[in-house]
Amino acid sequence: MKKKGITRLPAVLLLLAVFTFPAAAEREKTDGTYFTIVDENHEVICRTAHYITVGDEYLTAENKLYRVRSVHQDIAHARLVETPGNGGRAFFQELRRGLQALIPRRAEPAQGGGEKRPIAIYHTHSGESYLPNEGTPHVEAGNSGVQKVGDRLARRLKAENIQVIHDTSNHDPQDAMAYDRSRRTVAELLKKRPIALIDVHRDAVPAEEYETWVEGEKAARIQLVVGRQNPNREANEAFARQVKEAVDREYPGLIKGIFYGNGKYNQDMAPRLLLIEAGSHTNDREEAEKGVELFAAAAHRVLSTGGVSRQESSGAWRALLWVAGLVAAGVLIFFLLNRDWGRLRED
């Protein structure tokens, strides 16, 4: 009986871990707080409602890349790891160059002729809304704030003669399985062969974090999110960076930054799946709509062509190396676990 108790210990510990991890995360949601990322001099880099863990990264509007070193309550301390042009990831860049030499170069995708593939827009958190307009941060029954913002984004892209599928599938009632359900929406959308997918969200921080003025008009800035835990990370990251570059050329600062969070946000389903935060629940919805209009005007070319494939491809190569390494490690562990120690000794 005593032995039975001991043997169940690892399982019990694991179960506890499973329950305590999400419990820690949940704290942020219920009390309406958010995270603040600060640099070495305690200057604020960004504020976001995303749960921040050590290793998360943030690329600012000015293309400075910070990596989170420690998290104390709601403050995440980050260190500058890359400034524009300093080649902070020299090793990977060298590796990329080496691998690229092995891959035959391809022409950039045609921008005019040829078959046109649609852009798909959907909403994992289909109920997210804007307080000043909807009067609540979450509308469950459909026709929510983010769906209206998605609609505006779709219309602006259509004005550029791009085919757009705006999927307004509801993923409520609210619970922790929204991404598991929107995964099925993504699977449905993928059957329509989109060139890119955009999951439109909104953040949950004070309004000023996202407020900006463009050409004399008030607009809500946009934050891009890339999941760190997905095999398509490099491909999605390259795509996000290209989108940011395109918008930066037209409206510098409209893209607030790129957050590299601990999750996958279904980005493992496609190499060009963009998660965007159109303002915060505290912003006016019209500002968010203005924000995505400007975004579409500046980024439509990259979005509708899938960007320059070369860069994306090298990202995928890098990811492939990681996958190969992980598989090797997995095989080794599997081999060790399944080794017949008794027979080995006899031999």
Binding site: A25, E26, R183, K191, G263, G306, S313
Partner: protein, 234 residues
């Protein structure tokens, strides 16, 4: 053989990627699918399927991923995916039907009920997907199901049954909840095919039970087992 299988599933994506080309992305997709299929085959090995049957089953799941069977067209609409729900659930029921003793059957029913309850309760209590924390939310369900099932039945098979049917029941509960509240939220059960949480939970469940079981045997059962075998053979 492995390449042949990967081709079926990525066909659609590959055709598209070939046009704008992307050898890296293609290889990455291929690698991801091979890993998933490799893991799935390991799992099927432990569920009364031999290698040939396992391959056929996987092929059927891959092809079935493209087929959705509508069950209800009202509010909310409900559909079942052939590869992502019908086949894995069918396998779970089959494995369950082969349970040897009444004790095993009771444990199985208890395990499924407990897993479904745990998955549904955790999904309602914790909104961690919004603020994804330390563990990728999609893996939580498999970890949870594998752990609960292992605690109840201490078997890989029960871990698979618990995880698969647990997610199914949680999905049904969600659809019922949406219906009661008059929400249009579609219940596309297993809708992401072989990439669906229902499939992944089953795989993670069995692998977790495997790891816990093997670790436990190494730590405690291992030496005793060796000794026993040595005596028997000697």
């Amino acid at each position: 053989m492995e390449e042949g299988r990967s081709e079926i599933i990525t066909l659609q994506v590959m055709v598209e990627e070939c046009k704008t080309m992307n050898l890296g992305v293609l290889l990455l997709l291929g690698a991801g699918i091979l890993i998933l299929l490799g893991l799935a085959q390991q799992v099927l090995d432990r569920l009364y399927l031999n290698d040939k049957q396992a391959l056929l089953f996987l092929a059927a799941m891959v092809v079935g991923s493209f087929i959705n069977i509508p069950l209800y067209r009202g509010t909310p609409p409900v559909s079942l995916n052939l590869g992502g729900a019908v086949l894995p659930v069918g396998l779970a029921v089959y494995v369950f039907s082969r349970a040897g003793s009444r004790k095993e059957v009771n444990r199985g029913i208890f395990g499924v009920a407990l897993t479904a309850l745990a998955v549904y309760a955790v999904s309602k209590l914790y909104f961690f997907d919004t603020y994804a924390g330390r563990v990728e939310p999609q893996y939580i369900w498999g970890i949870l199901a594998g752990t609960v099932a292992y605690l109840v039945g201490r078997s890989r098979r029960l871990a698979f049954i618990g995880a698969t049917l647990g997610i199914l029941v949680a999905d049904i509960a969600h659809a019922v909840e949406a219906g009661i509240r008059g929400l249009s939220s579609p219940a596309r059960i297993g809708g992401a095919g072989i990439f669906d949480t229902l499939v992944l939970a089953g795989i993670i469940g069995v692998l977790l039970a495997e790891i816990i079981g093997e670790t436990r045997e190494r730590i405690q059962g291992g030496p005793a087992e060796e000794q026993a075998r040595g005596e028997g053979e000697g």
